[in-house]
Amino acid sequence: MYKRNIYTVTENKKIAKDVFYMILEGDTSYITAPGQFINIEIDGFYLRRPISVCDWDDKTITIIYKVVGQGTQAMADMPAGTKLDILTGLGNGFTVAQDSKTPLVIGGGVGTPPMYALTKELIKQGAKPTVILGFTGKDDVFGEKEFKDLGCDVYITTNDGSYGTKGFVTDVIKNLSGYDYFYTCGPMAMLKAVAQATECSGQLSFEERMGCGFGGCMGCSCKTLTGYKRICTEGPVLLKEEIIW
């Protein structure tokens, strides 16, 4: 179930290169799972901007977004106190796999934020997740401390080796053993590499250009082995076994 409400920006700050951290105050009752997203109306732009939920409590939603164009630049310029029209409770989100005790949580760039609330939930449900975060370079890295503060082992990779392990998240995965499941969100090439580098099952969160974000326009459809799915409604999280690469 989804719902439109008005939210107030209470914090909006830069945390890495082109990456911003925003807290929104308002009704959070429609958010039911980590990995869901919200769809934000921005003054002067026709379509809303779909952004994953990083974390939420009973009064606030935290999002982390990257400036990639004029719409997200307008978001970055918003002062505290800005009122926003937002749809919440969108998408299926991650489902905690009950038989997994030692999962991998893998985030790539700005695909990292939804993995935070997921990691909290995994820990709450008794799992011991290992976190791998991949970035382009040192200036892009965020979230390391926050995941460590949850008590997780955290591995950071950068493509150019300017911070953490040089290379890709899969360069860390190949040296790990003992994991029994994975959850991931990030660029398409990373999702594919992760699916190939792991023998276990897992859940992958996808991105697509959307019209409405709630299933009305069929703008973000994809083919899966279990039928046609809308990334905004039956996704963004798909099971490894149903994905057609």
């Binding site: 250009r209 409405c212 299933g215 703008g219």
Partner: protein, 302 residues
């Protein structure tokens, strides 16, 4: 009290507001936002003989005051619509729908229309000869007067319900095409479908839409749509359903002054899923503001 009731070929609607095909699915996605029985009706997702996945993604691009879509008629096919979507719809929608039918040959249009004509839940059939997002069909029919007439005749021969032909704006002059549909027996006309448009992604230097071009809609096209509704309504005697960028009660009234008997709302549903509810609630207030007692009094009075 003002009157918002209008009549399309003998079918009375509580108000002229109809969500447009392709922006409202088969109703499922909107029923949780509000009680959709407040609508005049809605036009269901463009339906073809066979199930279709549609075009590759990205299918969506943003424009100033609008959007481009290249969905490509994704739909479950006419048989699944009759067997599953309409029975499901009956659980939460008491009114009749506008059945939007598309095709890739004259036979296919006739096949689907003949089947949907038997459904009690259908008020009128809206024949889409103007989809810009498919090859060898859709708009290829709608941009040629002789083809529009041929589709209209074929559909009229196998149906009893009112047939409305949905016209393409991607033509030099829409009036001869509208007249061709009327002369071939159309009971009404729907216009406009989307305008063919494109955007380029500056990060790649390539088109945003995977299929290069797509259908441009939203408030940006409203004046073009209004102008075409005006031209067509002046030229034909059959009712016109006006659409193209309609986003407010004011827009609905403007469309009706231009000659529309009912008005469809498209892209605005995707930006604001409550927009039709808000338009319907505002309509009497806006009518009162402009001294309109009965919407029927203003149709074509511009």
């Amino acid at each position: 009290m003002v009157n918002t009731k209008v009549t399309l070929s003998g079918w009375q609607l509580d108000n002229p507001v109809i969500p447009a095909s392709g922006t409202f699915g088969y109703g499922n996605e909107f029923k949780d936002f509000y009680d959709i029985n407040i609508l005049g009706s809605f036009s269901f997702k463009g339906t073809t003989k066979e199930p279709r996945f549609g075009n590759p993604t990205p299918r969506i691009a943003e424009t100033p005051m609008g959007m481009i879509n290249s969905v490509g008629l994704q739909n479950p096919g006419i048989h699944a619509v009759i067997d599953h979507e309409l029975p499901q719809l009956k659980k939460f929608f008491d009114k009749k729908v506008v059945a939007n039918i598309s095709g890739f040959s004259i036979d296919e249009y006739a096949y689907c229309c003949q089947l949907i004509d038997k459904e009690d839940q259908v008020g009128i059939i809206e024949v889409n000869v103007s989809c810009p997002n498919v090859d060898h069909g859709g708009m290829a029919f709608g941009t040629d007067a002789a083809n529009v007439a041929a589709v209209t005749r074929a559909v009229k021969a196998v149906t009893t319900k009112p047939v409305y032909i949905k016209l393409s704006p991607n033509v030099t002059d829409i009036v001869p095409i509208a007249k061709a549909a009327e002369e071939a027996g159309a009971d009404g006309l729907s216009l406009i479908n989307t305008l063919l448009g494109m955007r380029i992604d500056l990060r790649t230097g390539k088109p945003v839409i995977a299929n290069t071009m797509g259908g441009f809609s939203g408030p940006a096209i409203f004046p073009v749509a209004l102008r075409m509704v005006y031209q067509v309504a002046k030229a034909v005697k059959i009712p016109v359903i006006g659409m193209g960028g309609v986003s407010s009660a004011e827009d609905v009234i403007e469309m009706m002054y231009a000659g529309a008997t009912a008005v469809q709302v498209g892209a605005a549903n995707l930006k604001n899923p409550y927009v039709c509810k808000e338009i319907i609630e505002n309509l009497p207030k806006v009518m009162e503001r402009y001294g309109i007692k009965d919407l029927n009094d203003i149709i074509g009075k511009a």
